[in-house]
C-alpha cells in the first residue's frame, strides 16, 4: 500500500483546512490508506445510521457498514466520478444491506441502540407519549420498539425511502440517485410507506 503525505484533519485546531473530497478519492484510489481513513471518518456516521435504521440491529449494522467501506475501497478503481463519492458509497451500502435483508427475511432480530439524552426533552415526542404512559422512559422505550417493528414490516425499498427522507433528511433528488430510480418513484414510494406506517402506528398518532 502506498502511504503518502498525512491528511490534515478537520478537527485539528491548528490546521483546520478541510481537504477536498475529490483529491482524497484520487489518493485513496492510488492506495493511500490515510486518505481513505479520512473518507471513512467523514461518512461513517451516516452510512452506519442508514444501515442501522434499515436493519434495527446494531451488530448487523456494524458488520455491514465495515464491509461496505471495505468493498468501496476495493472498487475505487471502478469509480468513474459520474456521481459524488458520497452517492456512490451510499449505493454500495444500500445494495449490501438489501441483499442481507433478503437473505435474513424470516430471521428478524432487533438489537436497538439506546436513545440519547435529548429524546427525553423533545416536546413533540413527549406530546405523543405523555397521555399514554405514566413513566417517560418506559414510554419512549415502548414507542421506540413499536416504531422499529412497524418499519420492519415495510418492504426494503419503502423502508429505505422513509429512512433516507424522514429520518436522515435527504432530498428526493438525492434519494433517486442513490436508489437509481426517478424522482416520481421516490415520491410514490414515500407516500405509500407513510400510509402503511400511519396505519401500523395509529394508536400513537391519534
Amino acid at each position: 500500500m502506498i502511504m503518502s503525505a498525512p491528511v490534515r484533519r478537520t478537527d485539528d485546531s491548528e490546521t483546520p483546512a478541510p481537504v477536498d473530497e475529490e483529491s482524497l478519492v484520487r489518493r485513496a484510489r492510488r492506495g493511500d490508506l490515510e486518505a481513505y481513513d479520512e473518507l471513512v471518518r467523514r461518512h461513517q456516521e451516516r452510512i452506519y445510521a442508514t444501515i442501522y435504521h434499515m436493519t434495527a440491529n446494531h451488530e448487523d449494522a456494524n458488520d455491514l457498514a465495515q464491509e461496505s467501506f471495505i468493498k468501496a475501497f476495493q472498487a475505487l478503481k471502478s469509480f468513474k466520478g459520474g456521481s459524488s463519492f458520497y452517492t456512490w458509497l451510499y449505493r454500495i451500502a444500500v445494495n449490501k444491506t438489501i441483499n442481507f435483508l433478503k437473505q435474513r427475511k424470516n430471521r428478524i432480530h432487533m438489537s436497538l441502540n439506546d436513545l440519547d439524552f435529548n429524546a427525553e426533552h423533545d416536546p413533540d415526542l413527549m406530546a405523543l407519549i405523555s397521555d399514554k404512559t405514566p413513566r417517560r422512559e418506559a414510554g419512549l422505550a415502548e414507542l421506540q420498539e413499536k416504531l422499529n417493528t412497524a418499519l420492519l414490516k415495510l418492504s426494503e425499498p419503502h423502508r429505505l425511502v422513509v429512512v433516507l427522507h424522514d429520518v436522515q433528511g435527504q432530498s428526493h433528488e438525492e434519494i433517486a440517485k442513490i436508489m437509481d430510480c426517478n424522482i416520481g418513484t421516490v415520491r410514490s414510494r414515500l407516500f405509500y410507506a407513510r400510509q402503511q406506517l400511519q396505519a401500523l402506528l395509529s394508536d400513537y398518532l391519534k
Binding site: L115, V167, Y204
Partner: protein, 164 residues
C-alpha cells in the same frame, strides 16, 4: 404534495425518535481503524480467521461470550458449573466396583481355559495326524497330505470328555 406532507406531520414527528437512537459511546472512535485494519489484512468482506468463522457459524457461542462481557456474574456461574462437572467426573471415575468386577471374572475364565488346552490339544492331534509341537516354527509348517486328505493348519477341535 404539501397536503400530503400535512397529513403525515404527526408521523414525521414520531419518526424523529429514530434520530435519537445512537450507538454505544465511543463507537465511532475506532470504526475507521477497524475498517483499515481489515483492508490491510486483505479482508474481502468475509471473516478473517478461523475464530471469526467459528463465531459466524455458532451464534450461540458469540452471544454467550457477549453475555460474559456484559455481566461477569454469568462468567462466574459458567466457570462454577464447569468445575462442578469436573468434580463429578473425578468422583465417577474413582468408583471401581461397578465396572472392574465383571472384567476380573472374565479374565479368570480365560486363564483357566488356556491352562488346560495344550495337553488335550496334542493328544487329539496325534489321533488325527496333526503334528503338534511346542516349537512355534515347527508347528506352523503344514504337513503333507498322505491319503489325499486335505490338511490345513486350522482344524476344528472338540473337547469331549468321553475319550473316544
Amino acid at each position: 404534495m404539501n397536503e400530503h406532507e400535512n397529513n403525515f406531520e404527526s408521523l414525521r414527528r414520531l419518526l424523529v425518535l429514530k434520530r435519537h437512537e445512537t450507538p454505544p459511546p465511543g463507537y465511532f472512535n475506532y470504526f475507521s481503524s477497524q475498517v483499515l485494519q481489515r483492508i490491510r489484512a486483505g479482508d474481502t468482506g468475509k471473516s478473517a480467521n478461523w475464530l471469526e468463522d467459528l463465531f459466524g457459524q455458532a451464534l450461540w457461542l458469540e452471544k454467550l461470550l457477549q453475555a460474559f462481557d456484559v455481566k461477569p456474574v454469568f462468567a462466574s456461574a459458567f466457570a462454577g458449573a464447569l468445575c462442578l462437572l469436573l468434580f463429578l467426573g473425578i468422583i465417577y471415575a474413582e468408583r471401581p466396583e461397578i465396572t472392574s468386577q465383571p472384567l476380573l471374572q472374565a479374565a479368570t475364565t480365560t486363564t483357566s481355559l488356556a491352562a488346560v488346552s495344550p495337553v488335550s490339544l496334542s493328544q487329539s492331534a496325534d489321533q488325527t495326524g496333526i503334528v503338534s509341537s511346542t516349537d512355534p516354527v515347527l508347528s506352523l509348517q503344514p504337513v503333507a497330505s498322505l491319503f489325499g486328505q486335505q490338511n490345513s493348519l486350522a482344524q476344528p477341535v472338540s473337547f469331549s470328555p468321553s475319550g473316544n
